[in-house]
Amino acid sequence: MSFWRAIAVGALVAAAPALLAGEIPSDARRSGYAFMGPDTRAMQDDDTANPGMLFVLDGEALWTKKTGSAEKACADCHGDARSSMKGVAARYPAFDKALARPFTLDQRINLCRANHQRAAPLPYESRDLLALSAFVAHQSRGVAITAGDDPELKPFVAQGRDLFMQREGQLNLACTNCHDDNFDKRLAGAPITQAQPTGYPLYRLEWQTLGSLERRLRSCMSGVRAQAYDYGAPELVALELYLMSRARGLPMETPAVRP
């Protein structure tokens, strides 16, 4: 598997894109963690209190379970996730040469199920997909985000940025209106953060469960009374990619806890 390593290292040395107007400079970027109260922080920090860790443990069990008509487990090809998956989630969504578009970690896992395990894809937001994705992303906890560095991703990052800047829905608000222009303020009771996607999949107290970044973006879209994109839609992947590239340098926190 050293060829993806080589690609990753190549991408790391590529220059970071210049900052565009209205964007948050890298030294001012703050995770949603920084906006939380002490109780929620403590819950995230303590692995025995963090409900997301139950999903990580489920994911670890799935990692070694033989699945599909190929009778292979993830571990049969990828070995010990602690080394093979370290840093992987920090550079997703990544560009797939065969599909000629970016795809998310969830989609990557389902590609391995289809192509390598010969198993049916796991539905978005299903417990098993969240568990596998939490387990894989947990191996990147503390690793700085570098997603979006691959030059092939440039047009997709730009598409995601355009979507972030575009007003939409009956309330006619863009992501940027809240998350670039008004973070640190309060929308009714809720502190508005910078929308840094550092902790996904994460445990949201309001959901009472783990959820993906796509679920979060869909709920922000419904909040402005816009028609949310379907899970896996190219627009949602582009937004996710833009958010990850915008979070460049922040450490991964999976599984984070959010109110």
């Binding site: 575009q166 007003r167 939409e168 829905g169 009956q170 309330l171 006619n172 608000l173 209106n177 222009d181 008004n182 303020k185 309060r186 929308l187 009714a188 009771g189 809720a190 879209m221 419904s222 009374r225 816009a226 028609q227 949310a228």
Partner: protein
């Protein structure tokens, strides 16, 4: 500000109104609104005002701070100005984040349940205008 008569594509759903200067002087319904109903509407989460605004609403625990406090609004804005502000706040500030509450076209990807509908009805706008006009000290 210019004189304009609204004639949106789906005009049949919105009552026509006339903008004069920075006001819509005439009631959208032809009758004055009910301030008590207006207050209840402003406080209702689904009306969305208090997501951004705070105001003299001691019973409401969570209020927003993205926009000015509404107390005293009736001191400095006339009913006609408040009506235009609610109908189309972008007339006062083209970059505003305050939604246009009486508009049903030119928006992007509006959710299925909300498509082609203004956020508030003409009656609701009048009730809120009547309430905001009472916010004087």
């Amino acid at each position: 500000m210019s004189l304009a008569i609204s004639s949106p594509a789906t005009a049949d759903e919105l009552v026509p109104y006339k903008i004069i200067g920075d006001t819509i002087p005439q009631s959208l319904t032809g009758t004055p609104g009910d301030p008590a109903r207006g207050r209840a509407l402003v406080l209702a989460r689904t009306t969305t005002c208090i997501l951004c605004h705070s105001g003299p609403f001691p019973e409401v625990r969570f209020q927003g701070d993205l926009a000015p406090d509404l107390k005293g609004t009736g001191n400095w804005w006339s009913a006609g100005q408040l009506r235009l502000r609610l109908v189309d706040a972008s007339r006062f500030n083209p970059q505003t984040i305050m939604p246009s509450y009486y508009r049903n076209n030119g928006l992007v990807r509006v959710g299925r349940n909300f498509a082609s509908k203004p956020i508030l009805s003409a009656t609701e706008i009048e009730d809120i205008v009547a309430y905001l006009a009472t916010l004087q000290n």
